[in-house]
Symmetry: none
Subunit: 285 residues, 2 copies
C-alpha cells in the first residue's frame, strides 16, 4: 500500500509522488509538447491542461513532444482551473510578476522541501525499513503555469497555496512557458540528489512549512473552494458586498487568498462551514 | 579594472563574469533563438555558434529569441569548436551520454563553484573590502552544447575541461537543446543566491516568519485575538456551541489555530470582522 504511492520516477525521494503539471490556457501546441517532453526528462508524467486555446487534441503538441507524445495523449483537459485542481491538496503558482497578495513565496530550489521531501528520508533509509522514511501523507501537489502572453490572472494565483518565482534578470523576467516548466521540473525531480554533493545542497534548516505542520488530512481544493463559495453566497445575502459593489472582486480574492494560504485540513473546512451556517443561521429561521 | 570585469547581471557573485554559451552545429534556428531568450532571462549575453546547419544569419533564430534578438544578432559565428573556445580558459561540455573518458564530471548545481564562485565571497564581503572576496583570476568560462540529434562528438568533449551532466530520468536523458541551456543558465546565474537570501526569512522556525513576506502590515496578536473573540461571541449567539457544548474548548482552539496560522494582515483582520458582522448582521435587524 505504501509502495503503491511511490512512483519509480520519484526515487530520489520516496516520500512524495511527483506533482501534476497544470498549464492554464496555453496558446501554442508547440509549447505544450515541449513542456511534456521536459516533464518526461525529469520523470514527471501527469499533465493537465485548462482550456487550451487551439482546442484538443492538438497535433503540434504531439509532434513537439517527440518521445513524450504519450504524456500529451494522456493529458487531462479541463474547462476551468478550479476543476483541474479539485482533487489536489497543495498548489504552487509559478509566476514572475510580484503580486499584491499575502502568500508564501518560494524559489524553485525550495520546492522539494515545500512538497515535504526531506533529504534524510532518502532511498537508503527507506530500503532499510527505517519507519521515518515512510511517506508522511498522501498529499497531492500541483504546479500551475500561466498562458504565454499574460501568465496567470490574480484570480488564478489566489487559488494557489504558494507562489513560486524563478529568479531571473529583473529586466527580462518572462520565461518561455516550456522553459519555465523545464526549470521547475528540474528542481522538482529527485534526480539531482543522485548526482553527488548531496550534503552541500541540503544543509539548510528545514522550512517552517505550513504544509508540513498538519497532522490531519488536508482539504482538497474542491472542499476549500466549495467552502469559499458558501461563504461568498452568505456574504452576498448578508449585504456584505452591497456597501462596496466595485470592491467585490478584490474582496473575494482577498478572502480566497487568506483561506488558501492557511493550509486547511478537511476537518477545518467542515468547521468553517459550521461557522458560516451558525453565523448566517438566524436569517433563515 | 577589477570592477570592469564585473557585470551587473552577475551580482550574485562578483568574482565571475558569466560564461559564454557555445552551441555546436545547432540544426534549428528556433532552438538557437529559444536558447538566446533563456540566456537573457538568466543574465547571460555571450552567444557563440559553431557551424550552424542552416547558415547565418537565421531569421527563425531572431524570431524565436523575441526580446533577446540582440543576443542572436551579436552572436559570434565560428567554423570550428576549436576556434570558438580559443580565448577561453575553462570549458564545460554539457552532455547526457556517459563517456569513456577520464575527466571531472559535475552536476549543474556544482557549476558556480566550479567556475570559482564561492558562496562566502559574497557581495557583502566584497563591498566591505575583504581581500578574500577579490576575483581569484580573470578566467573566462565556456559551456558547450551539442547538436540536437547526436549531441557532442567524443572529439568535441575531449576539448573540454569538465563534463556537466544534467540529472534526468535515465530512460529519457536527451533534453531539447534550449531546455538544456535553460537548466544550465539557471544554475550558472547568480540570481538564485539572492532568492536564497530570501529563503532564510522563511526557514526560521518563528511562527510569524510568513508575516515577513507581507507587503501589507501584519496584524498584531491583539487584533487577531479581538477578531477571534468577536467571532466566538457571534458563534455563541448563533447557537454554534449549543449543539455540542462539551466540544466548545476544542472547537475554539481549532478556530484560533486556523486563523493564527494564516499570518493575517491588519487589513485582513478588518475584512474578517466585516465578514462576521455581515453574516451575523440580520440577527440584529
Amino acid at each position: 500500500m505504501l509502495e503503491g504511492g511511490i512512483k519509480e520516477s520519484a526515487k530520489g525521494c520516496p516520500s512524495i509522488t511527483h506533482p501534476a503539471i497544470i498549464l492554464v490556457s496555453p496558446q501554442m501546441g508547440e509549447n505544450i509538447g515541449a513542456a511534456a517532453r521536459v516533464m518526461m526528462n525529469f520523470g514527471m508524467h501527469e499533465l493537465r491542461i485548462v482550456a487550451p486555446r487551439d482546442g484538443w487534441p492538438n497535433p503540434k503538441a504531439e509532434d513537439m513532444a517527440a518521445v513524450a507524445a504519450g504524456i500529451v495523449r494522456q493529458a487531462k483537459i479541463y474547462e476551468t482551473l478550479r476543476e483541474a485542481i479539485a482533487d489536489l491538496h497543495c498548489i504552487f503558482a509559478v509566476t514572475a510578476r510580484p503580486r499584491d497578495m499575502v502568500k508564501r513565496c518560494i524559489a524553485p530550489r525550495e520546492l522539494r522541501e515545500a512538497m515535504g521531501c526531506h533529504p534524510e528520508r532518502s532511498e537508503g533509509s527507506h530500503a532499510a525499513g527505517d519507519p521515518s522514511a515512510a511517506p508522511q501523507d498522501d498529499r497531492k501537489y500541483g504546479l500551475i503555469f500561466g498562458r504565454e502572453r499574460i501568465g496567470l490572472t490574480n484570480e488564478e494565483v489566489a487559488l494557489a497555496d504558494v507562489i513560486l518565482t524563478i529568479p531571473t534578470d529583473e529586466n527580462c523576467a518572462s520565461l518561455n512557458l516550456a522553459q519555465a516548466v523545464a526549470v521547475v521540473c528540474y528542481e522538482a525531480s529527485g534526480y539531482r540528489e543522485e548526482a553527488g554533493a548531496r550534503k552541500r545542497w541540503f544543509n539548510e534548516k528545514e522550512p517552517d512549512s505550513v504544509i508540513q505542520s498538519m497532522v490531519e488530512p488536508p482539504a482538497t481544493k474542491e472542499e476549500i473552494i466549495a467552502m469559499l463559495e458558501h461563504l461568498e453566497r452568505e456574504l452576498e445575502e448578508g449585504g456584505f458586498y452591497a456597501q462596496v459593489p466595485n470592491k467585490k472582486p478584490k474582496m473575494t480574492a482577498n478572502l480566497r487568498n487568506l483561506f488558501s494560504r492557511a493550509g486547511m485540513t478537511a476537518q477545518e473546512v467542515q468547521s468553517m462551514r459550521g461557522v458560516i451556517r451558525a453565523l448566517a443561521g438566524k436569517k433563515r429561521r
